[in-house]
């Protein structure tokens, strides 16, 4: 269960939001909405613990994420608007290295399977710098295929995806929710998620 | 419990700003008094030094400037530690307000050291531990100011600068002892409180000058801190009131 209480966000000299709170139970998805610059990404960065809120508190399973620290991060999977893939490595190497660095062992077969699911079969051995923007995004999304950590925080996951990929990702997310996972994401287009409870939170006025 | 003494209240800019404003004139006055007394004792009354002749009188600014350059750095590091530990807004502003004065003190220490070294040792610059550490200290001040100036977000600037200050506090002693082992030329410490080799008037002159430099630094840092404070807090109610009430 993820809870946010009375969050306040100040960036530079501007107060982006204040008094923001929500409560998200297992199997629920939270859509963050708001115009550009409303503070969606800032809120996500607060939720993953990289940006300390000006005031307020975020709790995971009842414990403030600041004190939970590594226990919280062991439950967290974050996908930013940057792909976090290395241009010099192949998609397969990227997946395996990311899994190793997150201390989440991933078998090579599982990694290959994930790459096949995102439609990168046959490109496993090509360095990522030779891939297109959309393909790079798919490499990043491939991380989610075998992801079993309960809390997913996704920043604009549908951007730069074609219709088929959007459907695939929506199914993947609903599978995660059905397994009792939680997800928070920002998006401009509302994508129907087949299963799970969807909540919405609008930031800014 | 409302009127219980609260340290945080004095650490808040809204309280600190007027308080600093009313204190500045006193620091200036005390600094001037100490300065005049120190100069009188040191330059007019104190006898000559039998080893160094009249040239030793540079000590009346060299030693206070050196002390202040180190002391200000320690104070900045202290503020930095407070700021990083408790996330107080005031700490970063104080560190930033102190830095230019600290850098000037380090410069003065080097400058007067060179002017003293030339007639005494026959060289403007001697690579000994104290001189080299003082030079590094100047670089650290400049590095701190350059780093905080390069970061637009004041909060990040304060934190990054604070971290640099703490790293510097660890390193300056290491550098001092490294250079000391590398090459030992400098005379021993000139002030030894138990058995001073200096005439009493000289010692008093120097201490008075040190007090003058100290009070000067506080006064100038407070003025600078007030400006920084107003600039950073210009959207708050208290700052608006101050700005609106100020006459140009």
């Amino acid at each position: 269960m993820l809870e946010a209480d009375n969050l306040e966000c100040v960036r530079g000299e501007r107060r982006l939001f204040a008094g923001l709170g929500f409560r998200l139970e297992a199997g629920e998805l939270l859509y963050l909405q708001g115009r550009n610059g409303a503070g969606k990404t800032s809120l996500l960065r607060m939720l993953i613990g990289l940006l300390p809120p000006e005031s307020g508190e975020i709790r995971w399973q009842g414990m403030p994420i600041k004190t939970a620290g590594e226990h919280f991060r062991a439950d967290l999977c974050y996908l930013g608007h940057l792909n976090a893939i290395k241009e010099e490595l192949t998609p397969l190497e990227n997946l395996l290295a990311a899994a190793r660095l997150a201390e989440e062992p991933l078998a090579e077969d599982d990694a290959l399977d994930a790459l096949e699911q995102v439609g990168l079969a046959g490109r496993e051995d090509l360095a990522c710098k030779h891939l297109s923007q959309g393909q790079k995004r798919r490499v990043a999304l491939a991380r989610l295929v075998k992801e079993r950590r309960p809390l997913w925080i996704l920043d604009e996951p549908f951007v730069a995806l074609d219709i088929a990929a959007v459907d695939w990702l929506a199914t993947l997310i609903s599978g995660h929710l059905q397994r009792g996972g939680l997800a928070v994401m920002t998006t401009h287009q509302t994508v129907a998620i087949p299963a799970g409870t969807v909540r919405e939170l609008r930031i800014g006025h | 419990m409302k009127d219980r003494f609260n340290l945080y209240r004095f650490a808040s800019p809204a309280t600190f700003y007027p308080l600093a404003g009313s204190l500045i004139p006193y620091f200036v006055a005390v600094s001037v008094v100490f300065g005049l007394a120190g100069l009188y004792l040191g330059m007019l009354v104190a006898p000559t030094d039998f080893q160094q002749g009249e040239g030793y009188r540079i000590i009346f600014i060299h030693v206070p400037a050196s002390w202040m350059s180190m002391f200000i750095y320690l104070v900045m590091a202290f503020w930095a530690a407070i700021g990083l530990a408790f996330n107080t807004r005031l700490s970063g502003m104080m560190a930033q307000a102190l830095a230019p004065t600290g850098a000037l003190m380090a410069f003065l220490s080097l400058w007067t050291g060179a002017l003293w070294g030339k007639p005494m040792w026959g060289a403007w610059w001697v690579w000994d531990a104290r001189l080299t550490s003082e030079l590094i200290l100047l670089f650290l001040y400049i590095g701190y100011m350059a780093l905080t100036a390069a970061i637009d977000d004041t909060r990040r600037a304060d934190k990054a600068g604070g971290l640099l200050l703490l790293v510097g506090v660890v390193n300056v002693p290491i550098i001092y002892f490294s250079v000391k082992w590398w090459n030992t030329l400098h005379q021993g410490s000139s002030v030894n409180l138990t058995k001073s080799s200096m005439a009493e008037t000289m010692l008093w002159g120097m201490l008075l000058m040190a007090m003058c430099f100290w009070m000067y630094s506080i006064a100038i840092a407070l003025i600078r801190a007030r400006t920084i404070m107003l600039e950073r807090e210009r959207h708050t109610d208290w700052a608006r009131a101050v700005i609106a009430g100020a006459h140009e």
């Binding site: 974050y78 290295a97 660095l101 201390e103 | 590094i136 780093l147 390193n171 290491i174």
Partner: protein, 222 residues
Amino acid sequence: MLNIIGAVIARDLKLAMRRQADIVSAVFFFIIVVSLFPLGIGPEPELLRKLAPGVLWVAALLATMLSLPRLFADDHRDGTLEQLALAPHPLGLVVTGKVIAHWLVSGLPLALIAPVLGIQFDLSADALLVLTGAILLGTPALSGIGAIGAALTLGLRGGGVLLSLLVLPLYIPVLIFGAGAVDATVSGLGGEGHLSLLAAMTIAAVGFAPWASAAALKIALE
């Protein structure tokens, strides 16, 4: 704990191997700078022997600096740094791994090439041995201290120049004892004392600097 450090080292080394030009250019920079000195100073062997330790060490210092701005910048730009900061282990361990990898790629090659360059300066076999040992022992400290500077200047305009301004003054002890070890050997005093001080500094720097860098990285990621 060793797991994660190993994982970071393995990844960074793999990346470095895919971009060998960077390693090679740092080594060439080292070679060229060192070789320029005899041309500027003149060929007297006595003078060259005297200058060799300092010249080699200053060149090694500058060559290590070359790759520092990219230590975290690449990971920062592509978002990997965020993922590293979110992994369920202390960021300091990750930075320890990165510092070790940086040393393997930038410090170690310098140590290996230094004895060859020392011959240009007419150093004796003893001195060459101590020189290699000193650079081997001292460069990890350079990588460690440099990591703090790289983390503090991450993403800033003019970061490279600022990085040198912050880091070079802090390199002084390493320079003094590194060059001192060779000096002492050349003058027949024995460099063991200097070498053990270098080792102490490296242990302190590699143990402490990653945590300071991690704190700086968290500030930069806010």
